[in-house]
Symmetry: C2
Subunit: 350 residues, 2 copies
């Protein structure tokens, strides 16, 4: 869109002021900022309204940006904001927490996102590639107990402690592990069929159900890694914003966000680190037609990537939110894919 410099300034001023005050902005306030008269501003505003960038809630009110107006603002007027030192420190600290479990880190990232933006935040982890088991180990603990350890193709490791009501020898477990390594590695969940299980039972001469136990575990963890994890935090922030004083609206959005399946359908940016902004009616979901979504992608190793995002009214400080989100996503990418640390060693900085 080709706007004169003055129109750009006015649009920018309207957006900034409306974001701050949540009230329609009149020509007078803007006029003083540009040192022109209010009448001039009114004329310009009328043209911006014709272009579909501004609108009036009613004839005798000030102007409010339309979603198209926000779009222009985001595409052409917005600048890359630098984060304050306090903000980056807060983010770094949250991400550098001691517990290094994947889902803890991700949910923590969601928490800090919500904290820094004052909007509800969600965080997703999505595996992009089908996972298989690359190795089985069976550890004999005592006569009635052993541990199944499975190493997955995405380098995560899963385990389960099994109590038996019959006895089992370490030798038997070693043999069984070898068989599983021969027959059950490198195959997806769908190929672990009852037929395979039965033929394996015959092969090792198992009548106790041991094979079923281990195979069942294999199925379970493969299914589990397929499933996506979602975290939602800071929902109460939604109610702080005047556009959600209408309980009905707030409820609609909150309900939508509580549904994990819907969260997975939300927009996804192509590039990691860069924030993607979806404004009002640009959202596919009916429930979000009045809301905006800002998301950023992070990479967590070859097999996993994820999204963090916030949801709020279209009247949102896109500059600030996008900057924070990008930073957090970049931090996550770094932490999860490259920045391996020797645990317990480099955290003397607490």
């Amino acid at each position: 869109m080709n706007l004169s410099e003055r129109k750009k300034k006015i649009l920018r001023a309207v957006v900034d002021r409306y974001v701050e005050t949540a009230e329609p902005v009149g020509s007078k306030g803007i006029a003083s900022m540009l040192s022109v008269s209010s009448a001039t501003v009114r004329n310009e505003m009328a043209e911006l309204e014709n272009l579909g960038l501004l609108e009036q809630p009613h004839t005798s009110a000030g102007r409010v940006p339309t979603s198209l107006g926000y779009r222009i603002y985001v595409n052409e007027l917005m600048e890359q904001q630098r984060l304050s030192f306090e903000d980056t420190e807060l983010i770094n600290k949250a991400l550098r927490s001691r517990v290094q479990q994947l889902d803890k880190i991700i949910s923590e990232a969601g928490r800090v996102t919500s904290l820094l933006t004052n909007y509800p935040a969600y965080a997703l982890a999505v595996s992009t590639q089908s996972v298989t088991i690359t190795r089985f180990d069976l550890i004999h603990v005592d006569k009635h107990t052993f541990v199944i350890v499975a190493i997955l193709s995405n380098d995560s490791v899963k385990n389960k402690l099994v109590h038996l009501h019959f006895e089992v020898e370490a030798d038997m477990l070693t043999k069984l592990a070898a068989t599983f390594n021969a027959r059950f590695t490198g195959i997806p969940e769908e190929e672990i069929t009852p037929i395979l299980i039965q033929s394996t039972e015959r092969a090792v001469g198992d009548t106790t159900g041991l094979v079923s136990i281990v195979a069942g575990f294999a199925i379970e963890i493969l299914l589990e890694t397929k499933s996506r994890e979602t975290f939602l935090t800071g929902t109460s922030h939604l109610l702080e914003h005047p556009e959600f004083q209408d309980i009905g609206k707030a409820r609609k959005v909150l309900k939508y966000l509580s549904n994990d399946d819907e969260l997975l359908k939300l927009p996804t940016p192509e590039l990691a680190g860069n924030a993607k902004i979806t404004i009002g009616p640009e959202n596919l979901a009916e429930e979000l037609k009045d809301s905006s979504v800002v998301v950023a992608k992070y990479n967590a190793g070859d097999n996993l990537q994820g999204i963090i995002g916030v949801v709020g009214p279209t009247r949102m400080d896109y500059e600030k939110v996008a900057a924070r989100l990008s930073y957090i996503a970049q931090g996550l990418s770094w932490l999860l894919s490259g920045g391996f640390t020797l645990m317990g060693i480099d955290d003397k900085d607490e």
Copy 2:
């Protein structure tokens, strides 16, 4: 409290009706149920009001139960409700889901609780006893890779895949595991000191940092099991109830619930399975003085117990909520402490 039969009937009727309609109940409606005149009911109601069990929002309105009124209702008038077949089936199905990870089961229990009660639900898992590691195994995967497996005193198993930038022999890992089993088992996190780590390094002649890696992992998981897990679901349900049409109230409660630390302070029932009800001002938290909390405890083995609960307005169908919550808590206890199943075998009923 010693009430005449008729007063009990009237109190019960007022509570039931108010729970249903959310509007102050007048003498007329009650009168028809007891086949007396409205004037009689009015007299009785006036006495109930003197006793502090009912109150009027304003002079010319019907009556509403006070928190004391609800308390009497819960203590003396409420009956044990049986769940419908549909409800029990729904609960069973949710708890019997395929993925058997502990936190998944617990969060799922929260989800179904919220679904069945139409209130926000929370679920906590609290370990009651200090956990130690009972056994280490180090599995050699390839020259640069191995897996640490630690079995804990509460029968859970933790692991981590470690990539090294130097090479390591299987023999070394075997030796290291033996050392850790000798020195690091049965001790709490506080006793894994830098001094212990250094002396262990000298004992096995480790200059590569391997000992630090394994010890760091031990510290991490011991810290992690100490931390409590909380899950909150169904927050949007709160907004469905007329007492939370006031955004300010809703926000206060939602914000309170979003704080994990606060959730841990909520009331705890003594007996597993039995629901405990805390009404309005009985709650210690200022934020919940207008709300009620119903909680039930479940046991999950010797070392772990937890709470599931719902939060809603004092105008709550305590009978229904308490029954559902007890059932879910009992189901969880059974599932997590006793009812071991051979995974992947007994779920043909899907």
